[in-house]
Subunit: 325 residues, 2 copies
């Protein structure tokens, strides 16, 4: 079977591809055929994965011709990870609309055109929630995004649900908590600091936290995120019934608690590399997100999160620092 | 001031225009200037309203050039009523997407281009709700549309909210209950019968009810709908805070109760013109809608509904049958 990953050169796309290659198969209903090809579509070419099954394609995810060249009736699953992150979508409205909305719609349209009803796994976000929120967001809490990014994600969720209802695709929208600890460099996501304040100190660099110490975040490790993407793709459609968005389980933690966990694992010298300087733009976006949500449905669906933030730090040390600090 | 009404040749657009002409002014914040021009954009030309302030424009509401020719910096308010109704949007997916989604977005983009932040009143619908619903839908109940029409309306609501948050427009999305009793002929709306089973018998014609007698509807008269559109446009933005969609008040009634109210007002001979024949397609769409919702917020905002279904029938007799049956 063929698989397409959009945003395939990104860190999550790369990890997902590696995990898929490692397991070699995807269980889709009765079928559990070997994965013969994974296309990684992104704005840049990548040769990071050395495997004959992988093809890196440089192209515009919002261009229907690109999508039509990559999605055939033999494409069993599409993981749609390509996105403009929250801070950038807020700064460049048109770019966010083009990638987060138009590309998602073009992707669904291409699948509809092919007519074979592939699985489409769409990564949505905590940012679809906002405004006055209950302490614990439930699956049936209204979406009220307070950023263009959250709005675009919410719209793509609605499209995915309707394309699924009409039988054009078999879609699953997985609402990801903030991913932490991401490897690599800071990016334009408003939540970039949620990785930076752990990653940079562990790598001997200073980090600035732009939100208050009592800001509550809802976090998931890259390791668990990749597991959830694959499990979400393999889920029986009947288990999802008429609600295609699924809130993935996360760890609810304040920024102060994150710094304290780092202190306990890596010591004072490392944790003291964090300094605090409020950025109202980041606080406005991140502060509108819920600090946690009811995970009962995800648990029923067999989707697992991390066991506390210390585990998340250890997963980063294990996966990205080869186990050493 | 200039006003644009899309779907301006439709019955609601026509009534809205007449009411606006009658009151002569619109209270927008400090300003209460006279209405100098009302443009009625629709797929057909209409000369039903004889008033020098009214201009009927035949054009495609999804064509940005048409919108740019009609929306200027002197356009104080846009009432965006143009839509493909639920049954038709379900039958013709592409047409529904074009008019209910693309046109709404093009309209918002045109306003953004002008840069003067006009008021935009968007008519949304009970159809944005669906799936497993609480007995009484609240303002913060999640949208879970089970029709393409409801999906497109929900998406346009989200766009309107984000364009408002970013300061491109001052938007208000009014979720209309099913409008009953509509004058004229049946249309492709799944809810068309909610007017037909009252209107046709009162006009001496038979009517078929395609849903079960215990189906619960949520209804608003055209008279109250027009009042709510104008009141919604005039509302102070601060009263809406960060939630631009407003659930308008309706009357919760079963189809059997509607027939009984008709019997009491117009007699057995009239009510006996209703026959019952289930249509699964209509039942699937209408059955997914809530039969009522919490109207506390609308009441706080000063938006009023009808006082029971008998009042709705009497409003129809008064407004459309010149008071006589």
């Amino acid at each position: 079977m063929k698989i397409l990953i959009t945003g395939g050169a990104g860190f999550l796309g790369q990890r997902l591809a590696r995990k898929l290659l490692e397991q070699g198969r995807l269980a889709l209903g009765e079928s559990r055929e070997p994965i013969t090809q994974i296309d990684l579509l992104d704005v840049v070419q990548t040769d990071a994965i050395n495997d004959t099954r992988v093809r890196s394609v440089k192209g515009d995810v919002a261009d229907p011709a690109v999508l039509e060249s990559l999605i055939g009736t033999d494409t069993a699953a599409v993981f749609h990870l390509a996105a403009i992150v929250s801070g950038q979508a807020e700064a460049d409205f048109d770019l966010g609309m083009r990638i987060n909305l138009d590309a998602s719609r073009a992707l669904l349209e291409t699948c509809r055109l092919r007519g074979h009803r592939p699985r489409v796994v769409f990564t949505s976000s905590v940012a679809v929630y906002g405004g006055a929120l209950p302490d614990l967001v439930r699956d049936d809490t209204a979406l009220n995004p307070q950023s263009s990014y959250g709005t675009q994600k919410a719209i793509a969720e609605l499209l995915l649900a309707d394309y699924t209802r009409r039988g054009f695709v078999d879609g699953r929208a997985l609402r990801l908590p903030t991913i932490s600890v991401r490897p690599g460099r800071p990016n334009a996501a408003a939540s970039s600091f949620a990785s930076g304040i752990i990653r940079e100190p562990l790598n001997g660099e200073p980090a600035v936290c732009p939100v208050g110490a009592d800001t509550r975040l809802w976090l998931l490790s890259p390791r668990r995120a990749v597991q959830a993407l694959i499990a979400g793709c393999e889920l029986d459609a009947r288990a999802l019934a008429d609600r295609r968005p699924v809130n993935l389980p996360g760890v609810s933690v304040t920024v102060a608690e994150m710094a304290q966990a780092l202190r306990e694992i890596a010591g004072d010298a490392v944790a003291d590399r964090i300094s605090w300087k409020a950025d109202p733009k980041v606080e406005a976006i991140v502060g509108s997100w819920p600090g946690g949500w009811d995970t009962a449905r995800a648990a029923r669906l067999g989707l697992e999160g991390d066991n506390g933030f210390a585990d998340i730090i250890r997963a980063y040390i294990g996966d990205d620092l080869r186990g050493t600090v």
